[in-house]
């Protein structure tokens, strides 16, 4: 168990619902679920054996105190942010955001599945876009392809060769971005300071340690 995880488990004892309510974004909505299952039936990835536990089950597991099972589950990471569950929920639960919130919390505690590709994408994307203020699409792609090591990256790159060539031909992929050219914000320093402050304030508000 990571330190953060131990600390939180100790702080909330057996009250996992309360932990989620206070720590996960939009977690206070979990108790309002009425178990109709519309979310489960609305999830696009559900049809492709994506979810181990659809939102309805995740909510029930939270209420039943299944802390470990929920936080280590790959389920939340399957969300495509399509907001289908969100608009269909008869109780108006912001399910998409709750799923994101639980996933984020699991990640902060170090409980998210190792090598989870969507988590990796999230990390890479945010680091990429906050570095200069804008996304560097080439570097983003490279980072994603090479996440499993150099050889895997080359293989993946070859698989995707046609896709990339098509984009280059259509002037929609600027190879020069790889060398640091491309779009960026002028006030990068201001952005970094602003984000550092935001992280600090968020940790303070949620009464937990600042994470990078």
């Amino acid at each position: 168990m990571s330190n953060a995880n131990q600390a939180m488990a100790a702080r909330y004892k057996n009250n996992f619902l309360k932990e989620i309510e206070e720590q996960a974004e939009m977690g206070e909505w979990v108790k309002m679920c009425m178990q109709c299952g519309v979310c489960s039936g609305s999830c696009p990835t559900n049809f492709h054996s994506g979810w181990e536990h659809p939102p309805q089950e995740i909510f029930m597991m939270i209420r039943a105190g299944k802390r470990e099972e929920v936080l280590t589950s790959p389920s939340m990471w399957m969300c495509t942010s399509c907001y289908n569950c969100y608009v269909r929920c008869p109780r108006k639960l912001p399910i998409t955001h709750i799923m994101h919130g639980i996933a984020e919390y699991a990640y902060r505690l170090g409980l998210a599945p190792k090598m989870q590709p969507t988590l990796h994408l999230s990390q890479t994307f945010w680091r990429n876009c906050t570095k200069t203020g804008r996304v560097n699409e080439v570097k983003l792609t490279q980072a994603l392809y090479f996440k499993d090591g150099f050889m895997a990256g080359i293989k993946k790159g070859l698989e995707m060769k046609d896709v990339a060539l098509g984009l280059i031909k259509a002037k929609r992929l600027n190879i020069l971005e790889a060398l640091g050219f491309g779009h960026k914000c002028k006030d990068q320093q201001g952005i970094q300071k602003m984000l550092a402050k935001a992280r600090e304030l968020e940790a303070k508000r949620k009464n937990r340690q600042v994470t990078a």
Partner: protein, 298 residues
Amino acid sequence: MARKEYAFYPGCSSQKGASASNYLTSVESMCKTLDIKITEIPDWNCCGASISYAEAGELPRHVMNARNFALAEQHLPGQDIVATCAACWLGARESKERLEHNSVLMADTQEALKEAGLQIKAIPEIKHMVEVLIEDLGYDELKKPVKKPLEGMKFAGYVGCQTNRPFGIHGESFENPVYLDKLIETVGGEAVPYDQKVTCCGGALAFSEPDKAQAQIKDIIESAYDNGAEMLVTPCPLCQANTEIYQSQINKKYGTKFNMPVLYYSQLMVLAYGGTAKEAGLDGNVIRARKLEEFAAK
């Protein structure tokens, strides 16, 4: 003076050389015809998109959007913000909504903005370009400049997710929004009915879970073909990219023979307004829209 002026938030993908650069080309041309002035928000930054949720957390995400609000307010006072990208629009609107409804979050945001020498007074309205077209101008106005109606061409209006949910276009249903079909008809095309209009293309999971995303994309393209569409039309850069660039991979995996061009609504409008293939950004399509290129040349 132009009849409408907006603070323009193009977003990372709609920059020169980026994955939706042809969207930008067509939007600029379309706005010129419609006498809409769009001024880029100086030094705007990335919205964070939905996918950054895990790494970013809550406040940093809102702060990123808040920086754009503050810059727009400061440099382009009184103008609504218009975004062309679904994710930018959604991210910005979500932040606006949360900040306006949560005073704690707003106070924290102001404190963080101070670090960059900025502050928010009143967050401007945030519109998608489609809202500008439909609500601020209206279909009748959009029809007026049509010189070359896209007669006899069949399009599947692919609305997708984030311009449709959770905010959507005012007055439209989540399950069957019709604005895109109406836009197609406004420029003289035929909008075919099909059942995958609001199906998710996989979004960012096209990168992280390509098998799942491509299965979804396959359903969308297949349904468009089955219902007689020649081309797909979308208001979202990620929808456009996902449904277009993975067709060759899907063909390999499923043995399909997909080769369906995927256009932006703005490209159709530019062509109907008599614009050239270049002005419409047709050269930016990976799957070339030959029929439209010939149409533009006529």
